[in-house]
């Protein structure tokens, strides 16, 4: 049997082309997934900042008692401080681990749960024109959105990680220098009295 060099070369070239196309397709797919994680993490970041700001506003509105006010202000400024001192860098995936903010955000969730008892919520809502009611509505809105944003972020992280586990992605380093994104886990439950 005679081997036609030209034929073999053509087949090899085609296979190489197909492989190259697939690799570049996978790389851009991975890039899109990384961009989605970046969008999701910055949306989460924005909602958490809004949640802390609204909590601070509620604390200083004068609509809650001094002890509650102090409790809320402490947790909210803790979260804001942590955000300012450890901002997410411009490359959100560069060593992205949510800057260790999970603890302060859980603390804020706990403080909101402790402060917003059914009685307090009923009292704040009883005066719809009051400053407390407005701040409470904003706490509620941002906490709800933070909850959503965290779920959506973690979904996006799972998708990136699944693609990055593929052998050819690792072999050809298609993820380049982008750090492996981590899911963000903290307690983001809304105070039960607010949901009801």
């Amino acid at each position: 049997m005679q081997v036609d060099i030209l034929q073999v070369a053509t087949i090899v070239a085609l296979v190489v082309l197909a492989a190259a196309w697939y690799l570049s397709y996978s790389a851009s797919r991975l890039d899109r997934l990384h961009a989605k994680v970046e969008g999701a993490v910055s949306a989460l970041d924005a909602q958490l900042v809004r949640r802390a700001e609204a909590t601070l506003e509620l604390a200083t509105s004068g609509a809650v008692d001094p002890a509650t006010s102090l409790l809320l202000a402490d947790a909210a400024s803790g979260a804001l401080e942590r955000h300012t001192h450890h901002p997410l860098s411009h490359d959100l995936l560069d060593g992205q681990n949510f800057a260790g903010r999970e603890h302060t955000e859980t603390d804020l969730t706990d403080a909101l749960k402790a402060a917003l008892t059914p009685e307090t919520v009923a009292e704040l809502r009883a005066d719809p024109q009051g400053p407390g009611s407005d701040a409470l509505a904003r706490v509620e809105a941002s906490a709800l959105r933070a909850q959503m944003a965290r779920r959506f972020h973690n979904d996006a992280v799972r998708e990136v990680r699944r693609v990055r586990e593929k052998w050819f992605v690792r072999l050809f380093r298609l993820a380049g220098r982008a750090a492996l994104p981590e899911p963000v886990e903290f307690d983001d439950d809304l105070p039960p009295a607010v949901v009801d």
């Binding site: 959503m148 779920r151 998708e159």
Partner: protein, 399 residues
């Protein structure tokens, strides 16, 4: 906001997903948003709301165990692209995106931020597993997944991996608000009324569980009336009943919306003996909104709708399919008016959280979160670490 909604099933054929899309579209339009709906249409010359664009004639196809009316093919494909191009939507909200119809094609063609709602609780794994590698790159475009119930959510988790945020189906609870008027269904202390709603010849609606429980209920409360509203062969079902139960049961056949509302408003106990296959108990929400004390089988979908707040669930439950337990629970409820009025109050409050006002606000919050993330994603064209920088070989010292 410019919102594009895509419904995979023929819009002019009644169905849960279609109603959901219609209500959502009308709610957001009323709030001043610009809403477009893309859906297959069965009857091209029929009357359609102005916001609906046809993605093509629906074809009946057997998919996922039942016959659905779907569209696909090149005509649909070009209509989907044109609709997306002309719509310039800020957000695209697809319903049932893994059904082979308009939603999947819109997902494939889209470049806008995508939100997807999963309705079904019984997705067949065969099709999903076979198509998964093909679907994966498309489903990765979805930025937010919504499930209408816990069961729909676990279907998503099982078949697509990842998670979904639960936002229940909406109900226009205002239509059911108790009026206090006496209707032809209203009971008295001696003749209390039990209500059943649903197809009478479909076993999973559980009418037989209730009729089997009736003799024991009649023993304890002889005057009880059972009112059954729902289509099916009445003569056949009635003929098979115990004569005493037959005398106590009224079959209404298929009822109008107004009669349904009246029945739920008048019922002393609304019984939901469904034995399975329910992804979401809309009828339970309607009963609660109408002020009917609810007694339901303990399906996951139902216990989720009844909730478990600080005051306990907003309805009583009994073990699924267990007629003796059902009769015991009914008798107990009929004998304790206080418990019924407690459940009624809890139900009225619980129903409010399924009102379209509340549900649509949550869906809007998802849109905002997603648009927020999409706007931020390419941080700054220069600063954003693009494809090339990620591909750059790590410099020495870096890992």
């Amino acid at each position: 906001m410019r919102i594009g909604l895509v419904c995979p099933y023929a819009f002019d054929v009644p169905g849960g997903v279609q109603f959901h899309v219609r209500d959502l579209a009308e709610h957001f339009t009323a709030q001043g948003h610009e809403v477009g709906v893309l859906a297959p249409v069965d009857d091209p010359v029929g009357d359609l709301p102005a916001y609906v664009t046809s993605s093509g004639r629906a074809v009946p196809v057997r998919y996922n165990g039942s016959v659905a009316r779907l569209t696909f093919g090149p005509v649909t494909s070009s209509r989907v692209s044109r609709w997306l191009e002309e719509g310039e939507f800020d957000v695209l909200h697809l319903h049932e995106p893994v059904t082979p119809s308009a939603s999947l094609m819109a997902l494939w063609a889209s470049s806008e931020p995508v939100v997807a709602t999963f309705h079904t609780a019984n997705l067949r794994s065969r099709a999903m597993h076979a198509a998964n590698p093909l679907l994966r790159p498309s489903t990765e475009k979805i930025r937010a997944r919504i499930a209408v119930s816990e069961e729909a959510r676990s279907t998503v988790v099982r078949h697509l991996g990842g998670d979904a945020y639960i936002i229940p189906n909406g109900v226009d609870t205002g239509r059911f608000t108790p009026s206090g008027e006496t209707t032809r269904f209203s009971g008295t202390a001696e003749r209390p009324v039990l209500a059943f709603l649903g197809r009478i010849d479909e076993p999973r609606k559980g009418l037989s569980v209730l009729t089997d429980a009736m003799p024991a209920i009649l023993d304890a409360v002889p005057g009880v009336r059972l009112v059954v509203a729902g289509p099916g062969d009445v003569d056949e079902i009635r003929g098979a009943l115990d004569p005493r139960v037959r005398a106590a049961t009224e079959f209404l056949g298929a009822v109008s919306e107004a009669d349904k509302v009246d029945l739920l408003r008048s019922a002393d106990v609304y019984v939901a003996p469904h034995t399975g296959g329910e992804s979401f108990g809309i009828v339970l929400v309607e009963a609660m909104a109408a002020g009917a004390p609810v007694l339901a089988s303990d399906l996951c979908a139902f216990t989720a709708v009844l909730g478990d707040g600080p005051d306990g669930p907003a309805g009583a439950t009994f073990a699924n399919g267990d007629s003796p337990a059902l009769s015991q629970a009914v008798v107990e409820l009929l004998r304790t008016p206080d418990e019924r009025s407690r459940l009624r109050d809890l139900g009225l409050r619980r129903a409010r959280s399924f009102d379209w006002d509340v549900v649509a606000e949550r869906v809007m919050a998802v849109y905002e979160t997603v648009i927020d993330g999409a706007d931020r994603a390419p941080l700054d064209p220069i600063q954003r670490p693009g494809l090339l920088s990620r591909l750059r070989w790590p410099a020495r010292g870096e890992s």
